[in-house]
């Protein structure tokens, strides 16, 4: 990992966040999916808890296997997303880095990332006997339409009423506007940080951005999140200006598609460093920049803005749009190739990937490789197999250069 000074601040921020969540007596706790409209929760002073983020932390700490085994022992199939299994296990054993998540008062789940989360959250709702609110964000086949926006906005209005009932006070629209502003500001910094990677050599690589995702996922909508990314932005911008590379001797610039492999961060980092290959941009980390994509004039109505942002996530749109987006990134970031992580856990992210690889290679004339792995389950990962494929891919970039 590139040694950013800001990193220690992130640790503080995340520790404080989990500490408050574990100890609060006043604030309600809601478990929430990574792509759900958290702004509504912050507007009502509810603490959002992200099982996905926690599952990733467990895997990065090499604790996911034990937790998944506990879930599998209760009958959860190995074919279910490893995030879900890790969290079921963390709940059963009260395990992982913070000893389990604080019990929820209700759940908020959005289907823009996958449909697994519906069943996953139903399990949790039954276990804790708490209400579950589902925001159904339809798949965007070809472009956002008014129907899609209205359908989603209508659910946001229901959500406000739901939150008013849960908290016993009227929904706070003023606070929502404030939270939304903070959320947009954080997303804007995040995007600016990621776009600094257009610099050759890049001052930040994608393994860094994976590590620095924590606050934008869990704390967007708070001032702390904005401050953090502002500081990180300044640091990375300074490095870009000074041409300090995140991968010394950068020779190859590569896109990474799909989630990271959380339990292999260190090894992959060394692997890519040795080969002077920088992972420059990822569809995954980019997903949290969405709220900043819209100009104020274009989206004056905050509900439509939120609806557009939460519908318009990479994994919620169709093949043509994905390929268009990917080709754009290949040029914009001056890439020499791309890696697609076909992720056993995340079917909606991985479906059609081989076809995507062919098409993207053809359109850009640059090599790409598909590796079969998993973001959280080390039991389906083989170092030798994956590194053989990655090496062959790097050789083909060498041959093409």
């Amino acid at each position: 990992m590139t040694e950013f000074q800001t990193f220690s601040k992130m640790k503080e921020l995340m520790t404080a966040y989990y500490f408050e969540a574990k100890t609060t007596k006043e604030k309600p706790i809601a478990w929430i999916t990574s792509g759900a409209p958290v702004e509504f929760l912050f507007a009502m002073d509810i603490i959002p808890i992200y099982p996905e983020n926690y599952a990733a932390m467990c895997a990065a700490n090499h604790q996911s296997v034990e937790l998944m085994e506990a879930a599998e022992a209760q009958g959860f199939s190995q074919d279910i997303c490893a995030y879900a299994r890790t969290d079921f296990g963390a709940d059963i054993l009260q395990g992982g880095p913070v000893g389990g998540l604080p019990a929820p008062h209700f759940l908020l789940c959005s289907t823009n990332i996958c449909k697994t989360v519906i069943k996953w959250y139903e399990v949790i709702a039954r276990k804790y006997d708490v209400p579950l609110f589902i925001v159904d964000t339809p798949f965007v086949h070809d472009g956002l339409t008014d129907d899609l926006l209205e359908y989603t906005v209508a659910q946001f209005k229901d959500l406000e009423q739901f939150l008013a009932r849960i908290t016993g006070r009227p929904f706070d629209h003023e606070h929502l506007a404030e939270v939304l502003r903070l959320s947009q500001e954080a997303a804007a910094y995040w995007k600016k940080i990621l776009f600094l990677a257009r610099t050759v050599p890049t001052p930040i690589n994608s393994l860094d951005s994976f590590i620095h995702l924590g606050p934008i996922v869990t704390l967007r909508g708070t001032q702390g999140c904005v401050d953090y990314y502002q500081a990180l932005y300044e640091e990375v911008a300074g490095r870009a200006a000074d041409k300090i590379p995140s991968v010394p001797g950068e020779r190859y610039r590569v896109l990474w598609d799909n989630l990271p492999v959380w339990f292999k961060m260190r090894r992959l980092e060394n692997f890519f460093q040795e080969r002077k290959c920088a992972l420059v941009v990822t569809t995954y980390a980019n997903s949290w920049g969405g709220l900043s994509n819209y100009e104020d004039e274009e989206m004056a109505d905050p509900y439509r803005l939120l609806a557009a942002s939460y519908l318009n996530v990479y994994i919620n749109y169709g093949f043509e749009e994905r390929i268009r987006y990917l080709s754009g990134l290949m040029d914009e970031f001056s890439l020499t190739g791309f890696i697609m992580h076909s992720n056993r856990s995340c079917k909606p992210y991985s479906v059609g990937m081989y076809r995507l690889q062919e098409e993207l290679s053809q359109r850009t004339g640059r090599p790409g490789v598909v590796i079969e792995a998993d973001q959280n389950d080390p039991r389906v990962y083989s170092d030798a197999q994956i590194e053989a494929r990655l090496d062959a891919f790097i050789e083909s970039m060498e041959a093409a250069s």
Partner: protein, 259 residues
């Protein structure tokens, strides 16, 4: 005279070759990799030197390839199997267009351009279905030595199908076919067809063009090679010793490095 070496340490076999300035093969050795891949590489290299009647001092440089290429003591450089199979096959068949390599844990299809350059490649996904390991397990279930599997298949008279892709499930299919009293020859044929069909899927993805050459240990199984040719509708050439093509490629890379 100057000589170069190539060592390919794979998941199942460690193969080494010695070549001269013209790229002629002077000696080779094929040994099981076993538990200690570093040792296996050294032994294979020693075997190839002995076969060539040379000593380590006669060799200018050695390159390695294969899964354990980074662990080969004698090697000064390393290349992936993809590059080495392409290089080696191209040296043997200058008009090669497509290479199908099936080793112990991997199967791959490589599209080769001018000068043995890799244009594109695909490898099997992470499961062992369709690799040499699959054949080994089936040979075990049939209680037939691996190198007799093709002779056995040649006596097949009835067409059977193995439908499972998974090696473990396919093995239990074989076991149940045996217990149903099916002929081992027919089962051997069905097993060979299963692997051939899976491989054709891979080859089609990369695109089959030009001369098709098969390398790797599984190319020693005539039944698989013939079935591949039949399903592809194109002849499939197999070098005299398909298992050393990767090592040959590595040796050629060693030779072509300056100095």
């Amino acid at each position: 005279m100057r000589f170069w070496g190539g060592i390919d340490v794979g998941s199942l076999s460690a193969d080494a070759v010695i070549i001269d300035e013209e790229g002629r093969l002077l000696g080779h050795a094929i040994l099981p990799t076993g538990r200690d891949s570093r040792e296996a590489g050294s032994r294979a290299y020693a075997g190839a030197l002995e076969a060539a009647g040379l000593t380590p001092g006669d060799v200018v440089r050695v390159y390695s390839t294969g899964y354990s290429r980074a662990r080969v003591r004698e090697a000064e450089g390393a290349k992936t199997e993809i590059a080495c199979h392409a290089r080696g096959a191209h040296a043997l068949y200058p008009d090669v267009g497509t290479i199908i390599d099936i080793g112990g844990q991997d199967s791959k299809a490589i599209q080769v351009g001018k000068g043995g350059r890799v244009l594109n490649f695909v490898m099997n996904d992470k499961c062992a279905a369709g690799t040499g390991r699959f054949l080994e397990v089936m040979a075990g279930a049939l209680e037939t030595p691996l190198d007799h599997l093709d002779e056995l298949a040649a006596q097949s008279t009835e067409t059977l199908t193995i439908s499972s892709i998974c090696t473990v499930f396919a093995e239990s299919e074989v076991v149940s076919l045996i217990s149903q009293g099916k002929k081992p020859a027919d089962i051997a044929m069905a097993v060979s067809r299963a692997i051939a069909r899976r491989t054709v899927g891979l080859a089609t993805r990369v695109g089959v063009s030009g001369r098709v050459v098969m390398t790797g240990g599984v190319a020693k199984n005539r039944a698989v090679v013939d079935l591949l040719a039949e399903i592809l509708g194109a002849p499939v050439d197999v070098p005299d010793e398909p298992q050393i093509v990767g090592a040959l490629g590595a040796a050629l890379f060693a030779r072509d490095e300056r100095g």
